[in-house]
């Protein structure tokens, strides 16, 4: 079963606005990652936050993690038309045998209008 669930499913904003995307998950994790996918292509890693971290920044990206609520958010500031893509959260939860598997949510479609 999929571990992460993103919210909202789709988001449409104007260029220059901020975009906030949320992810909730079910079981304890080692880390949480966000990926981006342009139409019909493979996924590109954006940022990784470990379970003992609460906030992380990378350029215009800000990720927060609340392990007590089992949730994370991805903020893209000053959005650009080029940010139009699908965004996925992925969790890396240890399971029996101690070999982790990376599982993804269904994704959020972000449209940034010029």
């Amino acid at each position: 079963s999929q571990q992460g669930e993103e919210d909202p499913q789709a988001l449409s904003i104007q260029e220059g606005e901020n975009a906030t995307m949320n992810c909730s998950y079910k079981t304890s994790i080692n880390n949480l990652q966000w990926y981006r996918q342009n139409s019909g292509r493979g996924l590109v890693h954006l940022i990784l936050i470990r379970s003992n971290e609460r906030e992380k920044h990378s350029g215009r990206l800000r990720v927060t993690l609340d392990t007590s609520k089992k949730s994370s958010s991805l903020l893209i500031t000053a959005s650009r038309a080029a940010d139009t893509a699908s965004y996925f959260c992925a969790t890396d939860a240890a399971y029996t045998g101690a070999n982790s598997k990376l599982t993804f949510g269904k994704g959020i479609t972000l449209s940034v209008r010029p």
Binding site: K101, L102, G107
Partner: protein, 112 residues
Amino acid sequence: DVKVTQSSRYLVKRTGEKVFLECVQDMDHENMFWYRQDPGLGLRLIYFSYDVKMKEKGDIPEGYSVSREKKERFSLILESASTNQTSMYLCASSLLEYTEAFFGQGTRLTVV
């Protein structure tokens, strides 16, 4: 830069055929993954491997098998392709547990 290469970008196969999807990574990564991606369902893990000749089932292994004879190569096999296996297939690799994954460009498989 890490490169993950999938053998085909587009593939059309007939029902009942045995299909091989190949994936090669060039950065000596330990872990390799196969996902399928369908509209509204996101990415679902089929199989993964954390070492040569080692494999673990993901969430939807039925109808698939995998092979990892060499560290850099991870193959997904559809033993007898069916129309419900029409999908985008994505291969990924990562160096260690709990690190970022690098994806191939995807193979869009159509089974007719």
